[in-house]
């Protein structure tokens, strides 16, 4: 085994840092803590849940979701596993409108939110009525806010 023998010009300093707690992550102001993978998602800038699913409700990929309710053409409810702290958060959705009748286009929007779920509606872009014709999707949805 080789050993280092020589002059050390700078003394070795021991740096002790601790992981940020959930509260510190949620506050988001500490600059002397490190972010651990298991608490990263508590920062205000992190998505609290996300999902990609087909119009029939089949899930392709997701995080922190329990289920998707297919309630009709262009009408879905996304249920969150670890709830948001209230209904005051930001949720969004989008969709690939491939297959929808060309003259209609399609608009996807989150129209209501609860702490544990949010509802997405697809409407025709030309007149705002609920979709009556299937399209291929998929639908994407996500939420930001406090859990």
């Amino acid at each position: 085994m080789r050993r280092f023998i020589g002059k050390v010009s700078n003394p070795i300093r021991t740096l002790v840092q601790t992981a940020a707690t959930q509260a510190e992550q949620e506050t988001g102001t500490a600059v002397d803590k490190f972010v651990s993978p298991g608490r990263q998602q508590f920062h205000p800038s992190a998505a609290k849940c996300w999902i990609e699913f087909t119009i029939a409700g089949v899930v392709n990929a997701s995080y922190n979701i329990t289920s998707v309710d297919d309630t009709g053409l262009g009408d879905w409810t996304v249920n969150i596993a670890t709830d948001m702290s209230s209904g005051n958060y930001s949720a969004g959705a989008s969709a690939d409108p491939t297959g929808v009748v060309a003259a209609y286009n399609v608009t996807i929007a989150v129209i209501s939110k609860l702490a544990g779920s949010f509802r997405i509606i697809g409407t025709r872009g030309n007149d705002g009525t609920i979709l009556t014709d299937p399209f291929s999707g998929p639908v994407n949805a996500w939420a930001f806010g406090d859990q």
Binding site: A56, Y63, I65, S67, V68, T71
Partner: protein
């Protein structure tokens, strides 16, 4: 994984798809994931029940006419007929618009025969939703075959 179906207070049928998250999933078995979805059903869910995924229709043409029936998803045929009439109305809309233009041009030419032909065709388009075959259809498949192709054209 099984699905859950239930009826909402407004009469619509919801199909619940339990989710196994692709990232950071905390549960391991299908049974646990199914139960988690069941536990999150809305309080006003009526007659919730487990169904095999195979009973969910693949064809979504009449999705808004689905109803729960003894562990299966059936079609409410009166609703299907209305959906099909709406489909026919949407199909004929651009045809009627084009016929209006054609009629004006025929009028400018003083072509009475063409005007009469167009008027008759417009009437056929107006009548497609009254086709007796719509009321006679007893299944979604029969209903989908009721497209009077001769009428749904210029």
């Amino acid at each position: 994984m099984r699905k859950i179906i239930f009826t909402r207070p407004d009469g619509r049928l919801s199909v619940v798809h339990p989710v196994r998250n692709t990232l950071d999933e905390t549960l391991t078995t299908d049974a646990e994931i199914e139960q988690r979805a069941w536990d999150r059903l809305p309080a006003d869910a009526m007659n919730p029940q487990w169904v095999d995924a195979s009973v969910i229709p693949v064809d979504r043409t009449f999705r808004n006419a689905w109803k729960a029936e003894l562990g299966a998803v059936e079609h409410d045929m009166p609703k299907c007929r209305e959906i099909w009439r709406d489909t026919l109305r949407a199909l004929r809309m651009p045809l009627l618009a084009q016929l209006d233009i054609d009629y004006l041009r025929a009028d400018e030419r003083g072509d009475a025969a063409e005007k009469a032909r167009i008027a008759a065709q417009k009437q056929r388009l107006r009548d497609v939703t009254a086709d007796p075959a719509i009321e006679a259809a007893q299944t979604p498949e029969e209903l989908k075959s009721v497209i009077p192709h001769g009428s749904m054209s210029k």
